[in-house]
Amino acid sequence: MATTSPLGIEIDQYKWGFHDPENLVFKARKGLDRDTVEMISHMKGEPDWMRAFRLHSFEHFQRRPMPKWGADLGQINFDEIYYYLKPSDGKGLTWEDVPADIKRTFDRLGIPEAEKKYLAGVGAQYESESVYHNLKEEWEKLGVIFLDTDSALKQYPDLFKEYFGTVVPPEDNKVAALNSAVWSGGSFVYVPEGVKVDIPMQAYFRINAEKSGQFERTLIICEPGSYVHYVEGCTAPTYTTDALHSAVVEIIVKEGARCRYTTIQNWSKNVYNLVTKRAVAYRDATMEWVDGNLGSKLTMKYPSVYMVEPGAKAEILSIAFAGAGQQQDPGGKVIHAAPHTQSSIVSKSISKDGGRAGYRGLVKVYAGAKGSKCAVRCDALILDEKSRSDTYPYMEIDEQDVSVTHEATVSKVSDEQLFYLMSRGIKADEAMNMIVRGFIEPIVKELPLEYAVELNRLIAMEMEGSVG
């Protein structure tokens, strides 16, 4: 029976069981309805505007049809997903439940025990607490805010409200609407004017926050003249029993500021990874997305930059690796909405064992964006006959006075290259690895060192058995 909570939310208190604050036993259930959205907002003790935002988003999610223009999303069953709390029968996920191949990968990457458990979703914390605390103190002195998104809403309500949902509105697309309705976790970063954060901020340093969830929401605000490099994810496989990961990232880069956002995604191979990432770059600001996609069953992700004032710059670097049963559909969008804006997109995709990897992107130049420049380069490397690469470069150019270039290559590893390396004593599989590493090198060299090293090792592992 539905009743009204003190916050004015219609909920079935018995069903959710949170009438008893001493004994919070949640009988969370699968599927999504208005009650669940209300419950999430209530549980988090959110202000009314956020509850309204969630409900509005939920309505839009319900109305909005599944997108049909890209990969097949027909197998996602939204009714089979837990949107907030997982069923808690006292057991939870234990180390024994983690599949053997994931454990092996951890071992071979040389990941410390505690971190392994964290990555596998069975340990609560990653042992970098002391490192994090020192950094946090330094950042706080500079006025930098680095919090999980839920805490930021509580601690900085006005700042939060000013920017949240302004870059990616719930109406943007169906999965963004879903995220807006049920979001939880993610990072909130605020960099004050002129402050340059010289150490990359890494999501997994933020240990006191909840683990990266299914519907995380990240908001980064760079005040004029500031700089930050935010690093998300990690190269070790992220094991999850959830079939859907749908995040939203919003970034505001103000005049003369620069933001770089690096992601290495290696979800387990059952996950649909549908992420909306967008930045707005103001006068002379620079936004850089570095995006690596290795895992998941299907990834659709097109980091975008809206260049809305003169002199804004965008750079998008994307790597995708698709093995058996995987489809990587990454890319990027650059919107030139002001004169003298510059952008470049470099995409490198690798497919093997029947995998599909490619590039889907949009270059939009509005009339009046005079003197703007855009260069797109996408290279695909196909490692065997079974695999494929798809390239969908969309261009909408409504201004004459611009320079837009597009280059695309599709290549196979040549026998000549393999023979050349082997003639120097290098084994066939290592030769193949070297060629693949060389192919992605232009992007890998942009990664923080430890990520670059791990990424190379990981690709070497994915490449095993690729040469007879």
Partner: protein
């Protein structure tokens, strides 16, 4: 037995027979030259010895230090000390020379699961670059053969050879496309390695021209024609070829053709004329 023994080697690409029965022996400490016109099969021989999968061996065999060379993958051949300096080295984008050389030397020196320690590698690299003086050391930071000039590619092959310290090295038209000064520099580099090689190094030089041979002074010169070695001799054979061309050799051959057919091989004025099947 010689280190490298080639017996009656027949090779084809798809349906086309390119080598029609080549026999040759090369040992450490020897310098051999194979000369011949374009299309005679010289480069094919070099590539087959290294194991290029593009070619099919249809007859004959090759022994390397008594083992069946043709049964080995190219990397095994390299590890056992065989080397080829390619005529057209391919580029490997994104892979630096340093990383490539370190991986290669690790394999040659028997490191199986790890690479040679970086310090040791750098010491070797510096020593080789200093000794050869044929390349700007900055080359090691560039991607393998990517954007190299023709001369740089050839010199980079020599650097690889110096680092891998082969026992038998095949130089496939290393002199072509080099100006005469570069030919001397490269030849000096090869000779330096030849003299310094512990246990000796055998060199098989494949060339159009005698000019590199003026510097290398091979002990044996072989002339290849239409997929066969037709004449073998000493260094004077190269000079003779330079003066009289292949036509001059052919004229001599025609005079004794019947005799060669009967005997299989006929020795005349320090040259051996081989039977043409």
């Amino acid at each position: 037995m010689a280190d490298l023994v080639i017996r009656d080697l027949q090779v084809q690409v798809e349906e086309k027979v390119i080598l029609k029965g080549v026999s040759l022996e090369v040992s450490r400490g020897e310098i051999h030259a194979i000369m011949g016109p374009n299309g005679s099969g010289k480069s094919t021989l070099a590539n087959v010895l290294m194991g290029n999968p593009f070619y099919q061996v249809t007859r004959g065999d090759v022994l390397y230090k008594g083992e069946d060379l043709l049964a080995m993958a190219p990397d095994e051949r390299a590890k056992k000390g065989l080397f080829i300096a390619f005529q057209y080295p391919v580029s490997i984008p994104g892979v630096t020379m340093a990383s490539f050389l370190r991986t290669a030397i690790s394999a040659r020196r028997g490191y199986t699961n790890e690479l040679i320690p970086i310090g040791e590698f750098q010491k070797i690299l510096k020593a080789k670059l200093d000794a050869l003086k044929i390349l700007d050391p900055a080359i090691v930071g560039r991607y393998v053969n990517e954007g190299f000039s023709g001369g740089e590619k050839k010199r980079a092959e020599i650097l690889q050879m110096a680092i891998l310290e082969p026992e038998i090295a095949i130089m496939d038209e290393t002199d072509s496309g080099l100006d005469i000064d570069s030919v001397k520099v490269v030849a000096d580099g090869i000779l330096e390695m030849y003299r310094a090689a512990k246990g000796g190094m055998g060199v098989l030089v494949i060339t159009h021209y005698s000019r590199i041979l003026q510097f290398l002074k091979p002990t044996f010169v072989h002339i290849m024609y239409d997929g066969r070695i037709v004449v073998s001799g000493g260094p004077e054979l190269a000079e003779e070829l330079e003066q009289h061309g292949y036509e001059g050799i052919r004229a001599q051959f025609e005079v004794i053709a019947a005799e060669v057919q009967e005997e299989g091989a006929v020795r005349r004025a320090g040259k051996v004329f081989w039977v043409v099947h």
